[in-house]
């Protein structure tokens, strides 16, 4: 099923015309209404009338998270506050939150775009949708809520609750689709197993999971444990919230809502566009936002464009699942490494989420990577030999993957440096 066939299946040529028209009008509006962008344009001598193709977008300097922060709270709004009908903020885990406003039309379009993503993920008006995102300043819950209502599905706004309560609702209210983070879906899946509930007794069919990076193995595990079809979706509050991109049932990458967002992928170090299909940092320009438009916003998320057309009939390009954050990207001996790659390997060997830390050191001019594994019941083995074998296996596997020798060491339980509850992922001593 395709929600908005006319737009989602529009031919590429038509699409580039629509994108150009919208880019031009966005630039005019932003130049007129947002002092920050006007200053940037004037400083760099950019004429807002000089954009005659989509490629011209590269004339505009990038907008960073710091730019958004410095204009806290309302500095980047392109409309007066009285026209804003909703306010959300980014999570603020990495500093000051970013305040985002929506006009009536912004909300209307947001709702439409989420309806597209939900439909792509298999949802119809007959579904009963349990939203297990936190309702509040975070965009996830509200975005999905309105989109699901638009489709005509039955929405249960559970929010974050303890898994047992979620499961009770799942059983009693005959939920057919769950919307949450992948890790939360896995927690529910594991709790169901612990509670000795037969997943086949549930009516659950679909999971639309997002808001954090996850792996293909994790998808398989969730799908098997919950007996559902799980799709990935992508959004960020700085740009809109959920509804920016999402997987269809082909599960081969996330379709970008290209008629409303323009995506670029750049090398986070040289800031040049990467070669077609290479990994890099995602940069987004909004094409229709009224209250909070952004031009070339550096998301910090790493992904790549996927080649080829999708069998589902949508003509929108696809991106790969988010591979991590640029802040997490490690360059060692000229090789780019993402923690997600290491995670995937550990997961493959251990079959569970691992607590680990990446230690980077320089020994006599040579970069050295060490993976510190925190001991747990699973990894701890009385038989020294078995433990040794496991470590060596991980070591070989990682070294094979990256093409240089990687050290693997065990660390004592809860000995690794933590930020809040999370382990500090990378310690760079170079």
């Amino acid at each position: 099923m395709i929600w908005d066939k006319e737009n989602e299946c529009m031919n590429r040529e038509e699409l580039s015309q629509v994108q150009l028209e919208r880019l031009q009008s966005t630039i005019h509006r932003v130049y007129r209404n947002v002092p920050f962008y006007r200053k940037v344009f004037d400083k760099h001598g950019i004429d807002p009338d000089s954009f005659s193709s989509l490629e011209d977008i590269t004339k505009i300097p990038f907008t960073t998270k710091d730019d958004l922060r410095e204009n806290y709270p309302y500095g980047l709004f392109a409309v007066p506050l009285r026209e804003v009908v909703r306010i959300h903020t980014s999570s603020g885990t990495t500093g000051m939150p970013i305040v985002v406003g929506y006009t009536k039309n912004d909300l209307k379009i947001w709702t439409e775009l989420v309806a597209r993503i939900l439909t792509a993920g298999g949802i119809t008006k007959d579904d009963v949708i349990q939203i297990a995102f936190n309702y509040g300043l975070f965009t996830g819950a509200f975005g999905f809520h309105y989109g699901a209502e638009k489709i005509g599905a039955s929405v249960i706004p559970v929010s974050i609750e303890n898994p047992k309560k979620q499961i009770k609702i799942l059983q009693d209210y005959k939920t057919t689709a769950i919307i949450s983070t992948p890790s939360y879906a896995l927690l529910i899946a594991n709790t169901i197993i612990e509670m000795d509930i037969n997943p086949n007794s549930l009516l659950l069919k679909f999971g639309l999971l997002g808001a954090e990076p996850w792996s293909e193995q994790m998808r398989k595990e969730i799908e098997e444990k919950l007996k559902i079809t799980a799709t990935d979706n992508y959004g960020l509050s700085e740009v809109m919230g959920p509804g920016v991109a999402g997987e269809c049932l082909e599960k081969n990458g996330l379709h970008i809502n290209e008629d409303h967002f323009f995506f670029e992928i750049i090398d986070p170090h040289t800031l040049e566009p990467v070669k077609e299909g290479e990994r890099g940092e995602l940069v987004i320009t909004t094409l229709t936002k009224e209250a909070f438009p952004v031009l070339r916003f550096r998301t910090g998320d790493l992904t790549r464009f996927l080649p080829g057309e999708c069998h589902c009939g949508r003509t929108f390009r696809r991106i790969d699942r988010i591979l991590g954050r640029t802040d997490d990207m490690i360059i060692i001996r000229g090789t780019k490494i993402f923690p997600s790659q290491i995670e995937a390997i550990l997961y493959e060997i251990e079959k569970k989420q691992q607590s680990y830390q990446i230690l980077l050191e320089r020994q006599s001019g040579m970069d050295q990577m060490t993976i510190l594994l925190e001991m747990s019941e699973d990894i701890f083995s009385d038989v020294m030999k078995e433990q040794h074998q496991l470590i060596n296996h991980i070591k070989d596997r990682l070294s094979y993957e990256f093409g240089f020798s990687v050290n693997v060491k065990l660390a004592e339980k809860r000995s690794l440096e933590r930020v809040g509850e999370k382990i500090k992922r990378i310690v760079d001593k170079r």
Binding site: Q17, E21, V79, E83, K104, N105, K108, T288
Partner: protein, 246 residues
């Protein structure tokens, strides 16, 4: 059907259109709104070839027409109903309508043209009643219908309508707009509509573009534009209820 890309138009050294891009799909009514001097009429004239463009492209059904002569463009299927109607007041109603077919009129085609005139009369019965009257004696609303009828005689695929409601009484405006909607629904005509009466035009349009000082500053579905507060303030007037309801 029509694709305009980066259109620049200068009058002397003054530009009136600056990198304007827009598109119209088959069967759509697209409204162009904007204040006086924003460049709306210039844009229509550029499409129909009356005004020369300095750069950019106008592609109609896959063919570049920005350098074509107006008469050629009419033959391709674009008909322009100018602002102020410009009917021939000293000719009869029927003569005016026949003139609309000048580009295809010949002895051989006489029968076709006759049938088409009947079609126009069916569409606008008032014109039939007055077919032998001099066009100058018609009321404003009838003159507008005559101008539209005349434009339809060239069997256009795309109709460019410039200020069809200008100088008309509210109830007549309503009638004219009903006719425009009919043209779209019954004959599958595609319409690019320029109107001061932004609210009425957005009500019958599928999509719209807002022009300001020669640039497109907003585009969207007609519904979205009506609910946009900027558009409301600037072009729809504060007193929304006093405008004609369709």
């Amino acid at each position: 059907m029509l694709k305009v890309k980066n259109l620049d138009v200068y009058y002397g050294k003054l530009y009136t259109l600056k990198k304007v891009s827009l598109h119209i799909k088959k069967g759509e009514i697209v409204a162009l709104i904007g204040s006086n001097g924003a460049g709306k009429t210039t844009l229509l004239s550029a499409i129909s070839g009356i005004v020369k463009t300095s750069s950019g492209s106008i592609i109609f059904e896959g063919k570049e027409i920005s350098q074509e002569a107006p008469e050629k463009i009419v033959k391709l299927g674009i008909s322009h109903v100018p602002e102020g109607r410009h009917i021939f007041k000293t000719l009869t109603v029927e003569e005016n309508i026949i003139l609309g077919a000048y580009c295809r009129y010949s002895i051989k085609n006489r029968k076709d043209v006759k049938n088409d005139i009947q079609r126009i009369y069916n569409l606008f019965p008032k014109l039939k009643e007055r077919k032998t009257q001099l066009a100058g004696t018609l009321s404003g609303g009838e003159q507008q219908m005559l101008a539209i009828g005349r434009a339809l005689m060239s069997k256009p695929k795309l109709l460019l309508l410039d200020e069809p409601s200008m100088g008309l009484a509210p109830n007549i405006i309503k009638e004219v707009f009903q006719h425009i909607e009919e043209l779209k629904n019954m004959y599958g005509l595609t319409v690019l509509l320029v109107e001061q009466n932004a609210r009425s035009s957005l009500k019958i349009a599928n999509r719209g573009y807002v022009l300001e000082t020669g640039r497109v500053i907003l585009e969207g579905t007609a519904k979205d534009l009506i609910s946009n507060r900027d558009v409301q303030r600037a072009y729809l007037g504060r007193d929304l209820d006093s405008e004609v309801r369709i």
